[in-house]
Homo-oligomer: 416 residues x 2
């Protein structure tokens, strides 16, 4: 390993800032919802950089982009390295982007050092990881891993009614290759932590050990229409008022569960949403997350109880449903150990950490041994224009990614 | 007056039910937001009925429809009789529709009796009274009365981004005549009460005496983006949670003011409104209504105080603005007296009542002596599929409207 070439840290940082200029927001973040025009521009730049680096770029039918550096044994399954270029609305410059551009930095380093690997290495940009515009998130990787039917993904619509398949076509991102159905040797994803553990511990690298228990909750409150300027206050059956009570109740339930779990209502849709009509329907939804199955169950039960209480208090009908269950699992112990060893050999403080939230690595885990590597992000802030990863942390993560990619792809003995 | 022909009550009821079939909802109401396809169909049927009755139909540039029965002195300004055919989303079969179709019943009765009037009589369907799809409401009549510039009305957009001028054109409702700018002799509007006073008193007719003091309130809560699955609960700056507190506070303020005044938050818009992002902005709005200026001021002050308290509690920024002030006024005492006399002579219980909410009559009051006549609606329910006006009340209202229209338009002496 000692004779591996170095990551070009300055170039990686320059790439991150350059990519961040696409869809840049006044607040210092990026606004590139999946398959919008800014995402298209970001993908175009990524393809250009990959071709410039001598890679073969293909796009599959759900828009996942693969940039392949051939191995000395092309028939071997590839090591995939990547993450996603789409952002929240608005998001930061690092969530997802770091994993993709660090993959590019890895390949450039191998190129610069003239290092050949037995397995091919492919950098991947997964379509719609964020789920900010089209639900569900981690979409491209889920279709690739076979856990989400492509027909279902293609038919999803955004809040304005745009159909994903049409946006794929409109932005020129509907590729010609089939999605998945091929053997993958390893999946390696570098990501910002989105928490404060590394920062607090003064460490630079985390090997993600296990994932959380998640689900989504959906509530529909049914009230009754009426005139806001004539209906007596006591006679109002106001769906929005009942929803407000539930928003506050859910927040209290979340506060009681941290740090192991958390929940906040974060979406609301209200009908007919005008000033002269009492809302007859208000929908809420929220993500439930807990490191333990029992904790997830406890949050669900407490929300069920709050819903029942509010229904009794208001006399309105509240329908609660939980969907999209995702159980926690452990990542490959072998790869975790390799991440920790590589980090410590390179002089970094390293530790294992769980992940509360989902990443494309959660999809790929079903296909092959997978490593998810975290680097610190300032104050644990993410999904925010304030999201920030220090240049030295980005470089440290890319360095460990390089070592892991090289060892897993298998170094070809140089002829000298 | 005694030799006036009778209203055809069965035909009026049939017309109301027929009109209600356009945009009919499963719950027994109608869904005809202004300048949508159902509104276009309703307007087409209204034009057909008017032409069938021998009226001359014109449409002005904001889509107000006028169906004119010529007077024996055509140069005299017309008596306008009408209301609106657009509905809430969903609304009932009577709010607005009764005033328009009773106007048609009046003209049909005059036709059947061969009664000529000195002043022309015009039935009017005002565009977008409800303000359910395009803000503000009472739009067509406000432009007609000169209180809303037509450019401002034409440029309004609905929540899906459709521009009013384009919807006017798309649905064929952009007429060729100028809006307003002509002399109007009287404006007479029949409407359901949207309250329970007539029902409780056992009366059939109300002459509306005065109007309420109104305004609209707009609140923007500024929070901060963050990941819902990783940001510690205690570190969240959640705009939606603060908005929920304010919704409940506003509801309490409204409850303390009734029956003189009322207020409920009834619109909410939330960004970015997905399950993985803490809301960074939540907007609320609400209509304030009170029969007294001091009451309106008290509601505003209490909401200001609630906003300040919630800002202090949450550390978030809340911006509150009040707009669209409309002061109360008295309707023409002369016409009110005529309504009461006509009702009592016809054997109906009659009284004066205020109106809490706005009607097109509030716009027309600026142009000419105006009468607003109420008939009972069941349980005071309106802006609802459950809205209901008994056939005998609809007929009673049309009968009084006929008497008032005939007397104000001036009966031409018959040659016999």
């Amino acid at each position: 390993m000692t004779d591996l070439p170095k990551i070009d840290a300055a170039r990686l940082w320059s790439d991150l800032m350059t990519m961040g200029a696409i869809g840049a927001t006044a607040g210092g973040g990026s606004y590139r919802p999946a398959l919008g025009d800014a995402d298209r521009e970001a993908r175009g730049l990524f393809r250009f950089w990959c071709e410039e680096a001598g890679l073969t770029v293909t796009t599959d039918a759900i828009g996942n982009i693969f940039a392949r550096r051939e191995g000395s044994e092309p028939a071997l399954p590839p090591v995939l390295v990547g993450s996603h270029l789409d952002t929240q609305m608005p998001g930061g410059k690092f969530d997802g982007v770091l994993g993709v551009l660090a993959g590019l930095a890895v390949v450039r380093a191998l190129n610069a050092g003239g290092v050949a690997t037995r397995h091919p290495i492919e950098i991947v940009d997964w379509t719609n990881e964020e789920g900010a515009r089209f639900q569900p998130g981690v979409m491209g990787s889920a279709v690739f891993a076979g856990s989400l039917p492509i027909e279902e993904a293609l038919s999803r619509t955004d809040p304005a009614g745009a159909v994903l398949a049409r946006e794929l076509a409109r932005t020129g991102q509907a590729g010609s290759t089939a999605v998945g159905g091929r053997s993958i040797h390893r999946y390696l994803e570098l990501h910002i932590e989105q928490g404060q553990e590394l920062e607090r511990a003064g460490d630079q690298i985390a090997a993600v050990s296990h994932t959380s228990f998640m689900c989504s909750g959906y509530v529909t409150v049914k009230g009754e229409n009426g005139h806001t300027q004539t209906t007596p206050m006591s006679a109002r059956r106001n769906a929005l008022t009942a929803a407000a009570k539930l928003i506050l109740a859910i927040d209290e339930i979340g506060a009681a569960e941290e740090p192991g779990g958390m929940v906040s209502a974060s979406t609301i849709d209200n009908w007919p949403n005008n000033r002269v009509n009492i809302p007859h329907q208000t929908d809420l939804s929220f993500a439930v997350v807990h490191m333990e199955d029992a904790g997830r169950r406890r949050i669900m039960e407490r929300i069920e109880a709050a819903v029942a209480t509010i229904a009794a208090e208001t006399g309105l009908t509240l329908c609660l449903e939980f969907r999209h269950f995702r159980d926690g699992f452990e990542f490959s112990p072998d790869l975790r150990q390799k991440v920790l060893s590589a980090a410590r050999k390179s002089g970094y403080g390293a530790r294992e950490l769980p992940t509360l939230t989902a990443h494309d690595a959660l999809s790929l885990h079903a296909l092959c041994p997978t490593a998810l590597i975290f680097v610190p992000c300032r104050d644990g802030i993410s999904h925010s224009e304030k999201e920030w990863c220090a240049p030295e942390h980005a470089a440290a993560g890319a360095e460990i990614l390089l070592q892991l990619a090289a060892s897993e792809a298998g170094l070809e003995q140089k002829p000298d």
